[in-house]
Symmetry: C2
Subunit: 398 residues, 2 copies
Amino acid sequence: MLTISNRGSQMPPSPIRKLVPYAEAAKKRGTIVYHLNIGQPDIATPEIILDAVRKSDFKVLEYSHSAGNESYRKKLVKYYDNVGINVNPEQIIITTGGSEAILFGFMACMDAGDEVIIPEPFYANYNGFAIEAGVQVIPITSAIETGFALPPMEDFEKAITPKTKAIVICNPNNPTGYLYSKDEMEILKQIILKHNLYLFADEAYREFCYEGTHTSAMHLTGVDENVVLMDTISKRYSACGGRIGALVTKNKSLLASVMKFAQARLSPPSFAQILGEAAVDLPADYFDTTKAEYKKRRDTIVTRLNAIPGVFCPNPGGAFYAMAKLPIDDADIFCQWLLESFSYNGKTVMLAPATGFYGTPGLGKQEVRLAYVLNTTAINSAMDCLEQALLAYPGRIM
Amino acid sequence: MLTISNRGSQMPPSPIRKLVPYAEAAKKRGTIVYHLNIGQPDIATPEIILDAVRKSDFKVLEYSHSAGNESYRKKLVKYYDNVGINVNPEQIIITTGGSEAILFGFMACMDAGDEVIIPEPFYANYNGFAIEAGVQVIPITSAIETGFALPPMEDFEKAITPKTKAIVICNPNNPTGYLYSKDEMEILKQIILKHNLYLFADEAYREFCYEGTHTSAMHLTGVDENVVLMDTISKRYSACGGRIGALVTKNKSLLASVMKFAQARLSPPSFAQILGEAAVDLPADYFDTTKAEYKKRRDTIVTRLNAIPGVFCPNPGGAFYAMAKLPIDDADIFCQWLLESFSYNGKTVMLAPATGFYGTPGLGKQEVRLAYVLNTTAINSAMDCLEQALLAYPGRIM
């Protein structure tokens, strides 16, 4: 018998996508399903950046530079300058989505058996990339009661071992929407300096902050060697399918190492680099409009959630996710039940059970993640469904 | 001191790209450089498939299915049927270039410490993907004297250990251009059946065969569980920058495992999937024209090479590469010298030293790879340069 690798067996199936067959069955029965389960925005990709691709007139769809087109990297310097990050084109390596930036960062900084600390709940695919790199994820728990604030320094200290090589944060956070404060970022700085760790900062949602301001890991001083920014245009410009991201760091040895991984896969996708380059020239108010729309949705969903008896949803400071604690026995069963056994006026709602975002088994059983990627009319209708569902659900607890 | 991972240190720099700074310096001095060093064709990407992207009219650049758009996979079934490969859409996973198909295949089938046998010289980036997967490449040598035919079965038998999990072939071959015969493919079949191994078949150049016919690994019977096809549209349609490939297998457990790797990185690039889908509908004579052009170039370069005293170049049966043995001391030094210290009528030529394509240290020191990706006028001019260079080169040996 030919066997799959242990790594292949250990790879987790997507916790977001595992409910898809139930959603498909519901739709076949004629039920309308509100998708609050996945971070695929409904916001239109700016026409002007799609047009940049449509109007491209090259003759040969060539490999780009392995680090991405120089013209694009030069443009990105301007983008980063606008958000207070001072880098040069040689400090930017364009990647195939933020996904590849994470994988390259893990692979270039860590070996099999090394450990990376990640506050949980966290973006579930960090698990997959850690398994690909042979790295152990050590979760430290943030709590819904504090709105998923950074766990106290002692929790990091307790988790650090001689094998610890890095800390990953996502800011603002997916799945919690939590926006780390400047003080929290300074605490992380102390920890990485004291213990000589890399800080991988996933800032995919940088522009979507509704309370306070965003402190980038690249704003921290004195940690140029430690900080690795993992970036993507996916959410910023509603361009998830482009698969364009970037790994940004001032650490020269790391850049040289990541370049070898980049060369092995030849180049990032060419079409979407054109789109990414055009996006830097979008009018200054582009993010204002998008952010205002997401804020309206956030206010709607958080207000509706907290008005349902037994539901608690901390107000997320950024991104487009909210985590809610529900009066239920088991979020996985509940989310499946919503699709399989429930409808209200011919409609139901698809949510992501939070269990897939925790590294510690057993946590998140009463929590769900809601992505507010639909307009407020749809969100209100979805909340009507959820309200009725919680009344009807056999596994309701108080 | 923050350190790079051992894996990051072990990653080989691109053997093709390491001469780039010397080429750039030569161009700055005003020297014309003929690039025969890299497999970037000058053939125009078919206008009609570029237009499919230019005319796309979606509003949101969404994630595609992690396995690629269903419409594209259905179309590919037709493409594969045309080349005698019978598969269904569920047996195809669209990848980000052939590169990702190789990485996913290695990761899903092998664990750290496992061994993969590859006839050398081989595509240098297999080394990089093997290091990423923690896998050991065991090279077995094919010789320029036989035109780089498959090494005898005994050589495989000698190399196989309990850790051997797979054999990789590239057919027709990069860098040698060798086209494996049906008999050779049947020998490989015997070996993988006897020793229960995967056969990874990289068939990027399937359409470009000038002598005899192509035997796909998927044409072999009774090895459905063993065969993993690694495919790409990069060379087929001169669409290298699209970054669209595919992993194709009938092994269900393997497909399920690869899907988890595919889900972790969310989706392959959307724009180039549109291009790939349109490519399946290109007129039947598309490959005839392209193939005729490459054959003319092959005939030109091989004739010119063998006419130079002391040079031997076996006639490659496919792809668009030729390997030549030169009367020189050291191909790495010679290729650098061509760019640094030589020009003929203001021109020189950039070649790939063969050492980077061998896994066994010391092999290939007198060999270079030439990619015939330029038109015959440029090739003739490049061969004029090479002929003169071999007369002038201080390290010439007979």
